[in-house]
Amino acid sequence: MIALIFIAVFFSNALWGRTNQPLYEDPFDIGAGGTTLTRATQESMLINNPALLPYGGKFFRWLGLKSNISAAKDSIDLVKSLAQGDSSASQSESNGNNLINSLFTKPIHFGASQSASFITNNGGICAFASVEPDFRAFKRGDPKQGSGVPSVVVRNEVYGGLYASLASRSLYDWFAYGFSAKYLMIGDNELRIDLTDQDAPKRVQTELGDIQNTGLNKGIGFDFSTLFFWQGRYVDARLASVMNDLGSTKLSGQTGRTHIPQTLNVGLGLTFHTSADAIHFSADLRDVSNAYEQELFKRLYLGTRILIRTWVGIAFGIYHGSPTYGIELDLFLFRASLASYTREYGDHPLVDQRKIYVFSFTTGLAF
């Protein structure tokens, strides 16, 4: 599946991408508002805060594979309405008009990703790959560069990476630090096409050719993280800080994203627990210095995880200013989770949103 994901880039239109969010997100973490600095799921610890590793219990923690698929609610509704459409000749023109109207009101958005990871109490490695195409048509231009004529914005985010992390507690039990080295492959530009532009097909062909020639932009980067962890009998508190992309990660390539700026992320977590259950509240502020120049609602993530007897997890949160929900079933050899969240592509709320459902299936060994 990872190979299929990378093949997709060669047939993709120009691409566009994630900013302060991690390049790979676990669905249950997304359900918890995308909070990952004070608590994260499996390989997300390596990607978001490796300093979480030393507080996990046994030395060998996890070896496994995870596959995720996602789709926007509107896209699912569109497919359902097309599948239910009357196929008779008399209705075919009506169905065609309905399809055109639907394309101009409902975006098409799908995603697939996969990861493989091996995690211990002091380190781990993980590899991931994801692709997330998005297509949106506007009757009279998109909110950023529309000029009053029908237009289409095509985006495709392709990310891949290999993380190797190390972590250790300090002399004090309540303080740990972690370090990740990462190799990233990124392809994210976007293509805007005015439907009235007669040169559009030629332009699309040229840009596709450029992308196929240059492929993904690649680079090596480093993250450093710390975690303060005060553990009580029933209440724990956590304070995390993560410096991503130390010194900025330079990427190869002349087009698209050529570097990832250094960002500082901080997180606060509070856990109420017994020996079997836990309720974890978390708040993450990503990109504290606002290197990406975004509004606060796109940088603040809030979440709650309710873990019952280690088998069932329920999550809620706020991601890009909208509620998120998640549920997971964690059995010995496999784990399944489902989440819904809203991602905002625009710079402000309700400009260009996608309500997305994500499903994940994980198989592996938890020690």
Partner: protein, 264 residues
């Protein structure tokens, strides 16, 4: 049950009740954005869209009056930011009843070049048969405003090139110029109408005829660089009008319209 196990049981029940209340509280948040500003609600904590974003969203949602109000104010405040002009022109054209989405697929080579240009454009315009004279006049004024808004832009901003809005502005000027000329003509000889209404045609004055012909010439000129085929079709119409016998433009135009309907 011992007092200790009863205590554990109570603790478990309290815990699950707390989880249930938390579940209910969080799920009652719904799915809508919690930070967007709602109309008619004052909330300093909400994150507001920019006026430009509001205008384009209103334009796409079909709320043309709101889009018009926002864009007119933005243009008055920032007259040199020309990217808003084609958006406002699209608003006026939509308020003139023009269906831009359908017209964007207008191909000047329809029907192997055999289609009548006036009928082709007329398909995307409101028919005067469905409106009073006053209402239709309002639509004509809106379409004229759409054209004039685009003409306020410097010509180098109305071309394909570095400006992201240049191509859209150029296309709209071609389309609205053509649409305006057809709408002026439609007042007296609605396109698509098989029977020519002599009474309606008699209402056409000399000034009306001059306005129609001037508008057709403008449309031909505005489309010459961007869509020579449309320009050629318009010039063809003008040539046919000019060929007709008559002492004035009004007589020639009347003769052309009568012949067109007789042949149609």
């Amino acid at each position: 049950m011992s007092s200790l196990s009863r205590q554990d049981w109570h603790f478990d029940m309290l815990r699950y009740q707390f989880i249930g209340i938390l579940f209910w509280l969080c799920s009652s948040c719904g799915q809508e954005s919690l930070v967007s500003c709602k109309e008619n609600e004052s909330n300093n904590q909400c994150v507001e869209q920019t006026p430009d974003e509001k205008a384009v969203i209103a334009l796409n949602d079909g709320d043309f009056e709101r889009a018009r109000t926002l864009l007119e104010k933005l243009i008055v405040d920032n007259p040199n930011e020309y990217f808003r002009y084609p958006r406002l022109a699209a608003v006026y054209a939509a308020q003139a009843g023009f269906d831009l989405l359908s017209a964007a697929s207008l191909d000047s080579n329809d029907d192997n070049g055999q289609s009548d240009f006036l009928d082709s454009v007329g398909k995307f315009l409101p028919s005067p048969l469905n409106y009073s004279k006053q209402e239709y006049q309002t639509y004509i004024e809106k379409m004229n405003k759409a054209k004039q808004t685009l003409l306020l832009m410097p010509s180098d901003h109305r071309q394909k090139g570095e400006k992201f809005y240049g191509s859209g502005a150029q296309f709209q000027l071609t389309l609205y110029s053509s649409a305006l000329s057809v709408m002026l003509l439609n007042q007296f000889a609605p396109t698509g109408d098989t029977a020519l209404d002599e009474k309606r045609l008699e209402e056409m004055t000399v000034d009306d005829a001059v306005q129609i012909i001037t508008s057709l010439k403008d449309a031909a000129l505005n489309s010459a660089a961007t869509n020579p085929q449309i320009s050629e079709k318009i010039n063809s119409v003008l040539a046919k009008v000019d060929e007709k016998e008559g002492a004035s433009d009004e007589e020639k135009l009347r003769a052309y319209l009568e012949e067109r309907k007789n042949n149609g």
